[in-house]
Structures are given as structure tokens and as C-alpha cells.
């Protein structure tokens, strides 16, 4: 199967299509190049949103006004939230790694609809630019929070409409990506690759894609309704126009809770790839992991009400949503146990990807268990809309999905760029990141429990110690990110040439040269065994 020996190999990076140079990139329909386009854009937008995060931390170092006014601060957490959620974490893993590796891992030459893929990239870009622009034009940065709760969002005189449109367009782009992936997985698997021979990263994308396709339209129409409410004064949610504000929250969370699983499922898929490779043994409980992904996707659809425990919904629904929220934790638990069991009995090589994957489990557990604290009605009453929630989702998004992203980046870097990064720098970067992360967000749990609300520009003096520690952590984290990103960026062009299979992986992407050729495979492979088969096949060179 391996064809790296043939001297005529041209990597996709050097492949010349119809167009040359920059245009060749901008008009490409190669899923790998589109994946990279997403990667570069997302890094830029992450930088913007992360800087806003750090500025907020500086503002919060002392009570009262420190470096900005209340209006600026409110705009900042809104834009920070919107960019992070809609521009970064929802698209990131499917659009970067999904685009790049999904076709390769199922033995296809491209996704089902390559042009649609490019189109959805441009939608993404337009939406993202709209989001950033809303910060600067006209009436000032939107100040509603990323949740756009009505009636405030239908009254605020800031650029709420731009932000709504941005979120709408980004949602559309996300739907098209999901649609593309579902069809790809249904129609383009290599011969012999039955559903149960598909690796687990594609499986996690499959579950994700269904959520993208079936939940996103709801938020789309909801945002349209808010726009109609603002522009045409049609009453839906604003009580001044006869509407019902709690109905907005229902509709918003019908999408946005499933959306949190859009964020985490692909991340889980990535670490599921990493554990078998670095312990050189099959994944423990393939079917259990697969079905737990589908279960999370399905049950996750019905728990949205846990964001509304205090919104005056009926006692019966609080009961119901709390119950289902707890149920949804069980498939996550199954996954965690299967991952750590994969390590057991392996031949474990500690390399940066594995280190990130293990940190993922640690941080995800903290995020997950605090999620359970929030899922329990009694305790949520106390910590709802406090710094505790802020800590929960930073742990689970940044610590979970974020660290999974870093893990994937270090795992697939040699395949994407055909170069190796420096391991030592990667460890140092990890050290700063991991320490900084915990110093930054752990204190938020404590002050949250003591009653520090979120979206607070100003706060009571008793919370200052926690806030100061947090801010210090922010800067440690900052250092770590710079080291990590620096390491990767520098070595993408200048690192040592990477072999085709540096980690001795067995999934298809490791059977082709690094970087892959434009067509991925010279001939479409035939699959005749389960995906994580570490038997003595010839590929394990």
C-alpha cells in the first residue's frame, strides 16, 4: 500500500492545479488545502479573541475601572464569546482536521462535494469578518453576551444585528460542512471499509455532523426572528411587542446545548486516535466508544433546559432536564474508562501528542464533573451565571476541546507539513500551558461558589484575591501558547523531514507519504481488517 518509495511523489502543497500561486490556494477544492485555509484563519481569529480574553483579565485585576469602561468590557466578553464559540470551537475541529483527514482516513480522494466545501469556507470567512467588524463599525460593539438574550438584545443600540448576521452565516457554513461529511461517509468509504471498520475520528465526526445539520437551523431561524423583531418590530420574544422572552431561551438552547457536543465530540475523536497509536494496541471497546458518541449526540438534544433552571420554567421540566443531563454524562464516562483502559498493557511511548491527550482527560474530567454540579438543580441554583459556570466551560472547552486540538496538532503535524517539530520545546510549552490554565481557571470555581456573578465588570472586594491569581495564570498561559505556536510555526518550514509514519500508526493516513499527494492515494486501498489492528502487518515499519 505504501508508495512513498516512488520518486515522483508530489505533495499536495506543491501540486499545481488550474490556478497558480495564491489563487491556487484561494480557489482550491482540495480538501487538504481547504483544511489548511481554515487552520490559518482560525489561528488569526483565535489570536483576536484571546487578546480580548487577556484584556478582560487585566480589567478584572482590581475592582472598579482599571483599563476600560463598563461598556467596552461588555462588548469585549460578547465579541470574545461570539468569536470563540461560533468562529473557533464549533468549526475548528471538523473544518480543520475533519477536512484534512476524514477523506484520507476512510480511503477517499476528496469529500463528496468539493465545491460546496470551498463555498462553506467562504461563508465561514464572511461570517467571521462580520463578527469582527461588528466590534468596530457604527453603534459600537454588541453588548448582549454570546447568548443574545431578549429583551436586552432587541433593545440595545449597539451593533447587535451585525453579530446576529455573523452567527447566522457561520451557522449556515457549519450546516454545509456537516452535510458534506455525512454524505462523504455514506458514499465514499473505500471498498471493504464497512461502517464498523471506520476509524473512530470519522465516527465522532459523523455524530457531530448530524448535530450540525439538525440543530443549527433552529438557531438560524431564532436569530432571524430577533433580527425581524429589531428591524420590522414583529413581536416574538420582546414583551414590549407582545412576545415571550423565555421562549427565546428555549429556542436558543435547543441549538446551543447540542452545539457544545459539536465542540467536544471531534475532540474526543482525536484523542481516541492518539491512545492506540502511542500504546501500540487496539482501542479498548471500539463499539462502546462508537455508540457512546451517537448516544451523546442523541440524548444531548434533549437536555437544553439545564441552562434555564432559574428562568421560571416549570418545576416538572426542571426535574426532567436535570434527569436527562445526568444521563448524558454516562456515555462520557464510558469513553473516559475506555481511553484509560487502552493505555493499560500497552507499549507506551511518551511523546507530546500523548501528553496533550492525557492532559485532555484530566481537564475534561474537571470540566465534566463541574458540569454535573451544574446539572443538579439545587446546586445550579447557587452557581448559575456565576464564575463557576465560566470556569466549567473554559475547562471543558479550552481544557477539553482546546487541548484535544493541540494534541491533534502535534499528532498530525508531520503528516500535514511533512516536518517534525522540536519535542523539547513542545514539552516546555505544555508545561506553561497546563500550569497557566489551571492557575487561570481554578480560582474561578472558588469565587463562583462564593457568589461572584459572571459578566461583571466590577466586583465586590472579597473576590479580589481569586481574580488576581486568575490574571497571573492568564499570563502564564499566554507564554505557553506563544512557545507552542512558535514551535509549530517555526518548524512547519524548517523542521527535520518527517517520515511517512513517525508514530507507527495504523490508520490509513499513516500509510501514505508525508505530506500526502494531491490525490491522497495512488490507488484506492482495500480494507480487510478492523481499524486499530496492530498485528504484524507489513506497514509497521
Amino acid at each position: 500500500m505504501s508508495n512513498s518509495e516512488t520518486g515522483t511523489h508530489v505533495s499536495y502543497l506543491e501540486h499545481e492545479g488550474k490556478y497558480k500561486g495564491l489563487l491556487g490556494w484561494l480557489l482550491t477544492t482540495d480538501h487538504k488545502k481547504i483544511g489548511l485555509l481554515y487552520l490559518y484563519c482560525i489561528i488569526v481569529f483565535f489570536f483576536v479573541a484571546a487578546i480580548l480574553g487577556i484584556l478582560m483579565r487585566v480589567e478584572l485585576i482590581a475592582p472598579g475601572q482599571t483599563i476600560m469602561g463598563a461598556q467596552t468590557y461588555n462588548g469585549m466578553f460578547t465579541i470574545h464569546g461570539i468569536i470563540m464559540i461560533f468562529v473557533i470551537v464549533i468549526p475548528a475541529l471538523p473544518a480543520i482536521f475533519g477536512n484534512f483527514f476524514l477523506p484520507i482516513m476512510i480511503g477517499a480522494k476528496d469529500v463528496a462535494f468539493p465545491k460546496l466545501n470551498l463555498f462553506s469556507f467562504y461563508l465561514f470567512l464572511i461570517g467571521a469578518i462580520f463578527g469582527v467588524l461588528s466590534q468596530f463599525i457604527g453603534g459600537g460593539a454588541p453588548d448582549t453576551g454570546w447568548t443574545f438574550y431578549v429583551p436586552y438584545s432587541s433593545q440595545s443600540s449597539t451593533n447587535v444585528i451585525y453579530a446576529l448576521i455573523a452567527a447566522f452565516i457561520l451557522g449556515f457554513s457549519s450546516i454545509l460542512t456537516g452535510l458534506n461529511f455525512i454524505v462523504t461517509m455514506h458514499r465514499m468509504r473505500a471498498p471493504g471499509m464497512g461502517w464498523f471498520r471506520m476509524p473512530l475520528f470519522p465516527w465522532s465526526l459523523y455524530a457531530t455532523a448530524w448535530i450540525q445539520v439538525l440543530a443549527t437551523p433552529i438557531v438560524g431561524i431564532t436569530l432571524l426572528m430577533v433580527i425581524a423583531e429589531r428591524v420590522l418590530k414583529i413581536g416574538f420574544f420582546d414583551p414590549a411587542l407582545g412576545g415571550d422572552p423565555v421562549l427565546f431561551q428555549h429556542l436558543f438552547w435547543i441549538y446551543s446545548h447540542p452545539a457544545v457536543y459539536i465542540m467536544i465530540l471531534p475532540g474526543m475523536g482525536i484523542v481516541t486516535e492518539i491512545f492506540p497509536t502511542f500504546s501500540q494496541k487496539p482501542i479498548f471497546g471500539y463499539t462502546a466508544i462508537l455508540f457512546s458518541s451517537l448516544a451523546i449526540a442523541f440524548v444531548g438534544y434533549f437536555v437544553w433546559g439545564h441552562h434555564m433552571y432559574t428562568a421560571g420554567i416549570s418545576t416538572g421540566s426542571r426535574w426532567f432536564f436535570s434527569f436527562l443531563t445526568f444521563l448524558v454524562a454516562v456515555p462520557s464516562a464510558i469513553k473516559v474508562f475506555n481511553w484509560v483502559s487502552t493505555l493499560y498493557g500497552g507499549s507506551i511511548e511518551m511523546r507530546p501528542p500523548l501528553l496533550y491527550a492525557i492532559s485532555f482527560i484530566f481537564l475534561f474530567m474537571i470540566g465534566g464533573f463541574t458540569g454535573l454540579t451544574l446539572g443538579s438543580v439545587a446546586t445550579d441554583i447557587q452557581v448559575h451565571d456565576t464564575a463557576f459556570v465560566v470556569a466549567h466551560f473554559h475547562y471543558i472547552i479550552f481544557g477539553g476541546m482546546g487541548f484535544a486540538f493541540f494534541a491533534g496538532m502535534h499528532y498530525w503535524f508531520p503528516k500535514i507539513f511533512g516536518r517534525m517539530y522540536n519535542d523539547k520545546l513542545a514539552y516546555i510549552g505544555w508545561g506553561f500551558l497546563f500550569t497557566g490554565f489551571n492557575v487561570l481557571y481554578f480560582p474561578q470555581f472558588i469565587i463562583g461558589l462564593q457568589g461572584m456573578p459572571r459578566r461583571y465588570f466590577d466586583y465586590l472586594p472579597q473576590f479580589q484575591t481569586g481574580q488576581v491569581i486568575s490574571t497571573i495564570g492568564g499570563f502564564i498561559l499566554f507564554t505557553g501558547l506563544i512557545i507552542m505556536v512558535g514551535n509549530l510555526v517555526y518548524h512547519a518550514k524548517r523542521g527535520a523531514i518527517a517520515p511517512a509514519n513517525p508514530w507507527k500508526g495504523v490508520t490509513l493516513e499513516w500509510q501514505i507519504p508525508s505530506p500526502p499527494s494531491h490525490e491522497n492515494f495512488d490507488e484506492i486501498p482495500e480494507i480487510n481488517h478492523a481499524p486499530y489492528f496492530f498485528g504484524n502487518t507489513s506497514e509497521n515499519k
Binding site: L179, L214, T216, G220, I221, L232, K233, L247
Partner: protein, 204 residues
């Protein structure tokens, strides 16, 4: 894409159709959000929704339903025609569909402008002073039929494109995925109207 055997044609069309179906499901959910809002408000203000529905002209609504149903059939027939390689018949059937769609839009136009004459448009003083339930009813009416009308327009554009594609041979008895998908889209427009019609015009 390059090998034009019957077999790859078949695969491509299955792929395209699957994609279209998934897209249609997202469209259903898009309207689904509105139906959800409708359901909640309707349960709370059933009297007012009744009163609102009385104000709408059920005759025009029925007429429009008939237009859309017939047009749905003509599109379906157009596909049969192209499958049987009867190009002119297919073009004719699509034209009939377009005419029916045009009649539907014309009716909509008169219906809306009639409302506007009575100062019943979003944000108007008259509307604002209506009881809360009726205000919501008319809000939903404009939003739902408006969004639906946009879909009708998109569908009409797609149909018109198909006429040209049939003429220059891009759509033929071998290769009619484009027409098939347009047909699916047009049926979706019909499906949504089938729900809208009783909810807005009939329920008493």
C-alpha cells in the same frame, strides 16, 4: 467525475440526492423553529389566534394551496418526462409550474397589500394596538408566509435555470440530477405550505 459510465452516473446521482435530502431536512428545521413558536403561542392565546385566522381570506388560501399542489404534480411529471427523454414536454411542464408559482405569488401580493391597506403591517400603529395574541398571530403570519415566499422565489429561479439546462442538453434523460433536486426543493416548498395553510387560515 471523469469516467462517464452509467455506473458512476448512478453513484453521483445517489450522492447528490442524499445531499439534497439532508439539506431539505435542515430547511424543515428552519421552519420548525417557527412552528414551535406558533405552537406555544397558539396554545396560550387560542382565542386570539382564532380571531386572527378569521381575518385571513380562506378562499385565497385554498386557491393558493391548489396552485401549489398542482405545480407539485407538474414538476413530478416533468421529471418523468425527462426520464422518458421527452424534452419539450418537460420544458412545457416546468413552464406550467412556473406559471402556477407566479399565480401563487400574485395572490400573495394582493393578500399582503390588502393587509397593508388596513395598516396591518409589522410595526404599524393598528397592529400594535391589537390584543397581544392577535399581534403575535400577525407577526407569525408575516414571518412565516414571508419566509415561505422567499423559498418560492428561490424555487422559481431554480426551475427557470432547469429550462435552460434542458435546452442546452446539460439536463437529459441520462443526467437529470439537477432537475430531480430542483423538484425535491419545490416539493419542500409545497410541504411547508401544506402545514402553513391550515395553521394560519383554517384553524378555528
Amino acid at each position: 467525475m471523469s469516467t462517464h459510465s452509467i455506473h458512476s452516473e448512478q453513484i453521483e446521482s445517489e450522492t447528490g440526492k442524499l445531499g439534497m435530502w439532508i439539506f431539505l431536512l435542515t430547511e424543515l428545521f428552519l421552519f420548525g423553529g417557527l412552528f414551535l413558536v406558533y405552537a406555544v403561542f397558539r396554545a396560550q392565546y387560542s382565542e386570539a389566534f382564532h380571531a386572527g385566522a378569521e381575518e385571513l381570506n380562506a378562499f385565497i388560501g385554498t386557491l393558493n394551496t391548489v396552485f401549489l399542489l398542482v405545480s407539485s404534480m407538474t414538476v413530478a411529471m416533468a421529471i418523468t418526462a425527462i426520464q422518458k427523454d421527452k424534452k419539450n414536454l418537460a420544458i412545457f411542464l416546468i413552464l406550467v409550474t412556473l406559471i402556477l408559482a407566479g399565480l401563487f405569488m400574485m395572490n400573495k401580493y394582493f393578500e399582503w397589500s390588502h393587509k397593508f391597506e388596513f395598516k396591518l403591517y409589522p410595526g404599524s400603529e393598528v397592529l400594535k394596538n391589537l390584543p397581544r395574541g392577535e399581534l403575535l398571530f400577525f407577526g407569525l403570519y408575516f414571518m412565516m408566509t414571508g419566509l415561505h415566499a422567499i423559498h418560492v422565489l428561490i424555487g422559481m429561479t431554480l426551475l427557470a435555470i432547469n429550462i435552460f439546462k434542458i435546452k442546452n442538453g446539460e439536463v437529459s434523460s441520462k443526467h437529470y440530477l439537477h432537475l430531480e433536486n430542483t423538484g425535491l426543493y419545490w416539493h419542500l416548498v409545497d410541504l411547508i405550505w401544506i402545514f402553513l395553510f391550515p395553521l394560519l387560515y383554517l384553524i378555528t
